[in-house]
């Protein structure tokens, strides 16, 4: 059976109903283990003290904030090419989650930056591109809610997501040109020699897995809600017509 068969909303509802409790429980477990391990069972940094532990929230939310936009790009592409409604609704469902995680990433960064950098906000390329990313999410959500016809809204937001991805990527590198960075480069990797210390690596990986599963659970839940809203709308239209 091909993966596309789950694009059938009825099949998707059955599958997601079974998957949802497991992903939600796993997400809660991984996040709890990752955060407790990270917060209480890792050493303080020799310069940053305990404030370093914000990475267990900051890094996973920042990673998800970017990857959710990428997921919306893929889902929009699938909708435009194969016309699977579940795909369009999943993109719609993902946007508010992405926007929220973007805000969380910025807020945790500010909380950490206040004592360490001496400032909560700097016009640094990474910080600024997250600000821009947040605006992309807002525009996407606003366009969805501005158009009444659901299929038309799905099509137009998909076009916006494709165009937005091009410009979001462009902006990400354009801001490098505009300001020198204060933010450190990436030090988390699975294969490079330069990597963060092992004591931080494993709890961080656990936390990232937890946040990913949380996104999966939320997007399943919200997509189910969207499908049900569409059904209600169809029923109301049928009743109004008959």
């Amino acid at each position: 059976m091909s993966v596309w068969s789950y694009a059938n909303p009825a099949r998707f509802m059955r599958l997601s109903a079974r998957l949802l409790p497991w992903t939600a429980a796993l997400a809660a477990g991984f996040i709890a283990i990752g955060l407790i391990w990270g917060f209480f069972f890792t050493p303080d940094d020799f310069r940053q003290g305990a404030s370093v532990k914000i990475i267990f929230i900051h890094v996973p939310t920042a990673m998800m904030a970017i990857n959710i936009y990428a997921m919306m790009f893929v889902a929009s592409l699938i909708w435009l090419i194969r016309r699977h409604h579940v795909s369009a609704l999943a993109a719609r469902a993902a946007a508010p989650i992405g926007a929220t995680l973007t805000v969380v990433a910025i807020a945790t960064g500010a909380l950490w930056g206040q004592p360490i950098w001496g400032t909560a906000w700097a016009w640094d390329p990474r910080l600024t591109s997250f600000f821009i990313l947040f605006l992309f999410y807002l525009g996407y959500i606003a366009l969805w809610s501005a158009i009444e016809d659901p299929d038309k809204a799905a099509d137009l937001t998909a076009v916006l997501a494709l165009v937005g991805s091009v410009f979001a990527l462009l902006s990400r590198y354009a801001v490098n040109f505009w300001s020198q960075g204060l933010h450190q480069g990436a030090t988390l990797s699975l294969d490079r020699a330069q990597n963060i210390a092992n004591v931080f690596f494993w709890p961080l990986l656990t936390s990232i897995a937890g946040f990913f599963l949380m996104f999966l659970a939320l997007v399943l839940l919200r997509t189910r809600t969207e499908i049900r809203l569409r059904r209600i709308r169809a029923l109301q239209l049928a009743r109004a017509a008959g």
């Binding site: 821009i132 605006l135 992309f136 807002l138 525009g139 606003a142 366009l143 501005a146 158009i147 038309k152 099509d155 137009l156 076009v159 916006l160 494709l162 165009v163 937005g164 091009v166 410009f167 979001a168 462009l170 902006s171 354009a174 801001v175 040109f177 505009w178």
Partner: protein, 222 residues
Amino acid sequence: MDGSLRSLLGRELILAVRAGGGAGLGLAFFLIAVLLVPLGIGPELALLSRVAPGLLWVAALLAALLSLDRMFQADLEDGTLEVMATAALPLEGLAAIKALAHWLTTGLPLVLAAPVLALTLGLPPAGIAWLVGSLALGTPALSFIGAIGAALTVGVRRGGLILSLLVLPLYVPTLIFGARSVDLAANGRDPQSAALLLAAVTLGTLGIAPLAAAAALRINLR
């Protein structure tokens, strides 16, 4: 085909120039926005010349935004757009011509007025030359990106606000490279790299925007 492009461009320009068309409003807005800033932050020329490149570019961005929401809307409301969609000229061509007309009536006047305003803000002569150059290179991108936003929101009632929310983030690369090239030139450094990147953004936009705008128009006409 060639004739239809030309007559369409002529129609757009005539509509913009005649009563109610609103050509020149963008320019007036540009003048007012630039006038308001010295009133807000004080008349010290040293400070003004420091912020002039960014200020002029941001004002140009907002002025370009002002007339975007009417780019397709009037034609959709009276059914002209549907007639045009059945014509031999593809919608991509229509979107490109509309964006070009928008640039001729909004972007080009800004390019011509900018040196005078830059003079009042005390921008050094080298900066003024590059201001004109960068606006000439960058404002077409503003009109063409704007066409995407205008096509996406053409069916939305009071779409002006949402249009600015969609379009302004897309203007970020143009703004950065445009203002940066003027800033570098004004400070006696080589603005070429920024200007080249600005030209690249504009060229890329000229290629992508008509396709995206036409796709959005087709969806809205369905």
